[in-house]
């Protein structure tokens, strides 16, 4: 269960290859794939490409794997994540559905009970609320309730959390909701490495997996480190403070770590990768070293995964989405989610600095 995944097209990116993304706005990421140079394995791909490749590889490997969701086939995916897959595999294996989440999520569950391996795409996890009963009760709990007789190897995937300017009904982060359900596995990848490796692993996993992507990461060449399947990954080592984050918040935390480094503060950034099971050992190991902990996530405060640890010099700092439905106006939306300057400021506060 703890196995190294070989990502054939990536190199584990080292510090020098990591993009200082602080000054580069999101739209500058063009999704350009660079090819291998003669001497090293220096090439990257976007998060979107990584997800696409993961699905393509798994569908090639196992004919029971199929994709089902809205606009996944002929439209090539609402966010183009499934682009080209219908052309390659045909409409039997990439299935367009009507706008009926509860119905097609249930169909995915039934197909999984029958031994297929559906990848059920929700256009966003906001719409998955219509299907949450099928995810939690039909998929999540059946293996347990059947005494181990009926497994459900389904993957529910799609964008989660904040996008940009899409308003309250389209911006919620559901990591904590699904993360609270025993029987589900919940992953929230960050880098392209995460996306390819974790999606392949999720598809092969005999458990139901909720795979939370982020729309704002799709176009980015987000480079991180290779990690074992369900474990968290220290993306940047440090000794002064531990910052734990998942998904897009890892980008902001990495940027904040760069900012802090300019002032001589060495922050350690942990990319959680898996919400359930939670890799508490990696967090504890880090906190033992730094004695300060910050947790950053896009979800609402009451549900955020804050933990008390015994090795701290200062109270746990929790940085979360604000406890309001996401507003539309740009200036207000900026106050609804954590960003780099905020994380930097709070990190300093944990270090008892006011400047």
């Amino acid at each position: 269960m703890v196995s190294r995944l070989l990502l054939s097209r990536f190199a584990p990116a080292l510090a020098s290859a990591r993009r200082p993304a602080a000054a580069v706005p999101r739209h500058a990421f063009m999704g350009i794939r660079r090819y291998a140079t003669a001497d090293t394995e220096q090439h990257t791909m976007t998060v979107r490409e990584a997800l696409n490749l993961a699905m393509e590889e798994e569908m090639t490997r196992d004919e029971n794997v199929f994709i089902i969701g809205e606009e996944v086939a002929r439209y090539n995916g609402a966010y183009k994540v499934t682009k080209g897959l219908m052309d390659k595999f045909g409409e039997k294996r990439v299935v367009d559905t009507p706008i009926t989440e509860m119905g097609f999520a249930g169909i995915a569950v039934g197909a999984a009970f029958q031994g297929l391996r559906p990848i059920c795409e929700f256009m966003t996890f906001n719409f998955a609320m219509q299907a949450i009963d099928q995810i939690v009760n039909s998929a999540g709990k059946t293996y347990y309730m059947s005494g181990g007789n009926v497994p459900c190897p389904v993957v529910f995937r799609g964008p989660n959390g904040a996008a940009s300017g899409v308003g309250a009904q389209h911006s919620q982060d559901y990591a904590a909701w699904y993360g609270s359900v025993p029987g589900l596995k919940v992953v929230s990848p960050w880098s392209a490495e995460d996306c390819k490796g974790l999606l392949k692993a999720a598809i092969r996993d005999p458990n139901p997996v909720v795979f939370l992507e982020n729309e704002m990461l799709y176009g980015g060449h987000v480079v991180g480190l290779l990690a074992s399947y369900w474990q968290g990954q220290v993306e940047k080592e440090g000794s002064d403070i531990t910052i734990v984050a998942h998904s897009k918040m890892v980008t902001h935390s990495m940027e904040a770590a760069e900012e802090l480094a300019k002032e001589g503060i060495k922050a350690e950034v942990i990319n959680l990768r898996s919400i359930r099971p939670l890799d508490i050992d990696t967090i504890i190991k880090s906190v033992k070293k730094t004695n300060r902990l910050m947790i950053v996530e896009g979800g609402f405060p009451i549900s955020s995964r804050a933990r008390q640890f015994d090795y701290l010099d200062a109270p746990v700092e929790r940085v979360t989405g604000a406890d309001v439905p996401t507003p539309y106006a740009t200036n207000l939306e900026a106050l609804a989610f954590p960003d780099t300057p905020l994380i930097t400021k709070v990190a300093k506060r944990a270090l008892y600095r006011t400047n």
Partner: protein, 399 residues
């Protein structure tokens, strides 16, 4: 002796201009006398056994054998005994929580089993005990599950509503959720090119769920081999069908999906309808079909419901005495010379003994070990490192 009169049930509203199916259990006529046990002979169903919606009427002539009829009798009697045993165990407080009994509806489950292939799939809601046994389970396994014992079919972890076999996907607790799941099983059958279909069952109460219509739409769009089966027992918990459904002709609610309404108290009609549906979906590849069985439960919705606050005792009594599926089959068997009264009494006695034996064995089964709390949260071998208990000193470390 049950009368041949067609009994119209109280308050049953029929679509304008259409006659509903009649629901007496003993109106099938013999056409050809049977001789030996395995030689097929012909019966003719009453012409009001079926109502159709955009599909041809099933053949009223049915071929059966003596041994098959006896098997049907034995199965219905045994299933009723099992449900009655569950009733007694619940009242003795040995069964807890929910317990929904199918007494009165035996012709549907047993009739279905005789009309389908063992590799077809069935899924239903919570009134599932007979299906669990008939689809490859055991009476002891069901009773032990109700008692919450390790020997239960779900190891005591599911209870009454969550019992499964390889060809039966439960047993589901959320009303209506099983219908798209059933369509999904049919999707997989089509995907893999299997010559099978799935019977996705639900009640009159569940029939108004949005997800049922979502499943209808996708099944019709993709021509899935799904038979949507509405077990209309006239009441969704305490609400009569007329108070919940603006259209109680459930077999017509598939819109573009044709439908068939069936006398669910006559096991021969039930079997014929199911065989017809299977041929429709599997052999003729016509896509989905809606089947509505008109049936009746004598008990309440569950063991917490006496079943008499929303209907009269007289109605229940009348159904029991004039429309009972087992008594109806008994009448056929005696009239047609398939079995004598003594032979049938012997089958009854054996059914009781079988069930008593299974109950005794189930009671012997121990409660699950405490370790089982942590078992099967995730697929064997993929457990996380640690599952937390109620407080930090409780929990299970897997590695």
């Amino acid at each position: 002796m049950a009368s041949l009169a067609r009994v119209r049930l109280l308050g049953r509203r029929l679509p304008l201009g259409a006659r509903g199916v009649q629901t007496t259990a003993d109106t099938t006529q013999l056409h050809q006398a049977p001789s030996d046990a395995s030689e097929p002979f012909t019966l003719k169903l009453h012409e009001d056994s079926f109502q159709t919606y955009n599909c041809p009427k099933p053949d009223l002539e049915v071929q059966v054998t003596k041994s098959e009829l006896l098997e049907m009798y034995q199965q219905m009697t045994t299933m009723r005994r099992m449900e009655m045993a569950a009733d007694a165990l619940y009242k003795a407080k040995m069964i807890r929580g929910f317990c929904h009994l199918a007494i009165g509806q035996e012709a549907v489950s047993v009739g279905m089993e005789h009309g389908i292939d063992k590799n077809d799939r069935v899924i239903t809601g919570y009134r599932c005990h007979p299906f669990a046994v008939l689809r490859g389970g055991s009476i002891k396994g069901v009773i032990a599950e109700l008692l919450g014992r390790k020997g239960g079919m779900s190891q005591g972890k599911g209870g009454s509503m969550h019992i499964f076999t390889p060809s039966f996907f439960g047993g589901n607790g959320i009303v209506g959720a099983q219908v798209p799941v059933g369509a999904g099983a049919a999707f997989a059958q089509q995907y893999k090119g299997e010559k099978n279909c799935t019977f996705a069952m639900y009640g009159d109460g569940a029939s108004n769920q949005g997800q049922v219509f979502e499943a209808y739409n996708m099944a019709k769009l993709w021509n899935l081999p799904t038979i949507f089966v509405c077990e209309n027992n006239k009441y969704g918990m305490g609400t009569p069908a007329e108070r919940s459904s603006s259209n109680t002709a459930y077999f017509t609610r598939g819109d573009k999906i044709p439908g068939l309404q069936v006398n669910g108290m006559d096991i021969i009609a039930a079997k014929q309808a199911v065989a017809y549906a299977r041929k429709w979906a599997v052999d003729d590849q016509n896509g989905p079909l809606v089947l509505e069985f008109v049936t009746y439960r004598y008990g309440g919705h569950s063991m917490s419901d006496p079943g008499t606050t929303y209907r009269t005792r007289e109605e229940v009594q009348r159904m029991r005495s004039t429309q009972d599926p087992i008594r109806g089959l008994q009448r056929y068997l005696e009239e047609w010379g398939v079995a004598t009264e003594q032979e049938l009494k012997a089958i009854d006695k054996e059914a009781k003994a079988t069930v008593d034996q299974a109950v005794a064995e189930a009671k012997e089964s121990p409660e699950p070990p405490l370790e089982d709390l942590w078992k099967d949260v995730y697929f064997k071998g993929t457990e996380p490192q640690f599952l937390r208990g109620r407080e930090r000193e409780e929990g299970k470390r897997f590695y």
